[in-house]
């Protein structure tokens, strides 16, 4: 199996985030890193403090959107960025620990604020290779 990883894919006005991993959880974690990378270089975000996140949705795809939106909410209300993610999914319930630090304009060179995760190009699936993919477009 390949290494877990993340990537961006183009949308005409915005940006697609894609996480790939050996499990659904890893794919969700990598998608979260891809989303942080829309805002800044994730390597610049120190994982100094932990926040707990929980969400529930009727299916895996809605759960991915919920997960990313929960992170957007935490970033917006705390003025934080996150770089380390530990996700656990049981049925359609997600609990996660995430680590990050307060936004710092000089340190992070913040590119853009994310308004919300969308249902566009939304996909959570296990490929024939066995890898999991979790992706959607985020509105900036």
């Amino acid at each position: 199996m390949n290494k877990k990883r993340w990537e961006h894919f183009p949308h005409e006005a915005d940006m697609g985030v894609r996480g790939i991993g050996n499990s659904k959880e890893e794919a969700f974690e990598q998608a979260a890193i891809a989303m942080s990378a829309v805002i800044t270089d994730p390597a610049k975000i120190s994982a100094v403090e932990r926040v707990e996140i929980a969400c529930t949705a009727p299916d895996d795809e809605l759960l991915l959107v919920d997960w990313l939106n929960a992170l957007i909410y935490e970033m917006a209300t705390r003025k934080w960025l996150f770089s380390r993610f530990e996700v656990h999914i049981k049925e359609h319930q997600l609990v996660a620990s995430v680590w990050g630090e307060p936004m710092d304009t000089d340190k992070h060179q913040l590119a853009v604020e994310i308004k919300g995760a969308t249902y566009t190009a939304l996909r959570v699936a296990q490929e024939s290779s066995g890898e999991w993919v979790a992706q959607c477009v985020v509105d900036v």
Binding site: T105, Q109, L110
Partner: protein, 476 residues
């Protein structure tokens, strides 16, 4: 797109006949070059909108249409509640009531150029811009609710601007029917310290010079002449609107099948206008419209303060304020009969023609001002709503240039510093906390706004009044 997919009614009106689950035709207003350059996704999306229950006449796309979420950006659709019509959170979008406001300054370009750098630095210092920035105002629960019902009128009452401003805002700056109790605690919390902030992405504040007047009579009514300086503010309902969009989109996706609505795309999430969920969304969305009005009003006040520091003789009355992500109840004549319709404009500007009672009296004879934002380098336009627009597109026109290149590609193509230096050499001063943000918003990443505006003019949606070019741009 392949032009063979369309029936060409005029050089600027392209129709797609109903097929599959489409209830009405789809119509795109653009010239042939714009149609050819549009992503095929626009075709899919404008057709998908035509499948929604209760849609009236047609699903429309404006000349700046591009691939959006569910609706194309540049999409317009009206729904009749008496005919099972729906309201769609996706059809309004995340940035509820995002819009453009334009202020006079009473100055000419020489006045501004003499102090251009000081003005740019002062505006940048006084206007909170960019991710993570906060405003000076903190709202407690009752003030938050008062803001969500009062809009710009609430802001004026608190000392941000004057009552005269309100006449020059759609809905007189206060959207009726707002229901703060339908706005979640999460949405309110997200807004707590974001009042009077510009945001980021394509939002901006520009000091602009009127470089050309196309219609002297209309320009006179709007109070602008060549070489005048104006200020344009482009932003929306900030975190509150984004959170409302997020939450109702999910609720509508989950509820749709229960209402017997087949969604061709989850992003078209909607609910019947006459349903508890539809009514709650309308109440929350109208509260977000008020939040956007209040936000632009507070920013206006900050701009006036900044000008007073650098150019004390400046006076900055409001020319007009338009929103381009909304759903509004309007009366439109369909097949000779007036009907009360819920008009969704997603990246499209209301453009009432001359004589419409909702236009401020001083401007009414020439039509509603339609404010079109361009990119940092290419300039912006002021248009006036046209009488023909009523029959063409429920009185709607385009809203901006639209991106030609993804953010990812733009960031790989340009460096922020290089964009800032090149524009400075052309007399345009950029101030932004983020070099990467500037690179992603580089002028070259946008389509030619002139082509879009020319098509809107030729199609009869709105008429060109003036072209503006930036002198200073504050970018979030």
């Amino acid at each position: 797109m392949d032009i063979a997919l369309f029936a060409r009614h005029t050089d600027y009106e392209w129709e797609i006949a109903p097929h599959g689950a489409m209830r009405v035709p789809a119509v795109i207003y653009a010239d042939e070059a714009l149609i050819r350059a549009m992503d095929h996704k626009v075709y899919e999306q404008v057709c998908n909108v035509a499948t929604l229950p209760g849609i009236v006449k047609a699903s429309y796309a404006m000349p700046d249409a591009h691939w959006g979420y569910g609706f194309p950006i540049g999409g317009v659709a009206a729904f009749d509640p008496e005919d099972g019509g729906v309201v769609s959170a996706g059809g309004v979008g995340f940035d509820i009531s995002c819009g453009v406001r334009c202020l006079h300054t009473g100055l000419n370009s020489e006045d501004v150029i003499a102090v251009q750098k000081a003005l740019a630095d002062t505006l940048y210092r006084e206007i909170p811009a960019g991710l993570g920035s906060t405003g000076a105002i903190r709202l407690n629960q009752s003030e938050m609710d008062a803001m969500l019902t009062g809009g710009a009128a609430w802001a004026v009452k608190r000392g941000h601007g004057s009552a005269a401003d309100l006449e020059h805002i759609e809905e007189h700056g206060q959207m009726r029917g707002a229901r703060p109790e339908c706005v979640s605690e999460h949405a309110k919390k997200r807004q707590r310290d974001e009042m009077g902030t510009l945001g980021s992405g394509n939002h901006y504040l520009e000091v602009q010079k009127v470089v050309k007047v196309f219609d002297v009579k209309a320009a006179q009514a709007f109070g602008i002449r060549e070489n005048d300086v104006v200020v344009s503010i482009h932003c929306g309902s900030r975190g509150l609107g984004h959170q409302i969009g997020t939450e109702f989109l999910k609720a509508m996706v989950i509820a749709a099948s229960g209402y017997g609505i087949m969604l061709p795309d989850r992003e078209l999430a909607c609910a019947p206008i006459n349903s508890p969920l539809g009514e709650d969304y309308l109440g929350a969305m109208r509260a977000a419209i008020n939040c956007a009005f209040a936000n632009r009003q507070i920013l206006t006040h900050l701009v006036r303060d900044a000008f007073a520091m650098v150019l004390p003789k400046a006076r900055l009355p409001l020319l007009y304020d338009v929103s381009h992500n909304t759903c509004k109840v309007e009366e439109h004549v369909v097949d000779g009969k007036p009907r009360k319709l819920y008009v969704h404009r997603k990246g499209a500007t209301r453009a009432f023609g001359p004589g419409h009672p909702d236009i401020p009296a001083a401007l009414r004879s020439v039509g509603q001002p339609v404010l079109i934002g361009g990119s940092m380098g290419t300039g912006s336009y002021i248009l006036a709503g046209a009488r023909e627009g009523e029959a063409l597109s429920f009185s709607s026109a385009c809203h901006g240039a639209g991106r030609a290149m993804s953010r990812h590609q733009a960031y790989k193509t340009w460096k922020g510093r290089q964009v800032i230096d090149e524009l400075a050499a052309r007399g345009i001063l950029i101030r932004s906390p983020s070099g990467r943000g500037v690179a992603e918003e580089a002028p070259g990443a946008y389509k030619d706004v002139s082509a879009v505006v020319d098509a809107a003019d030729a199609a009869g949606l709105a008429h060109k009044v003036a072209r503006l070019e930036p002198l200073v741009c504050i970018k979030g």
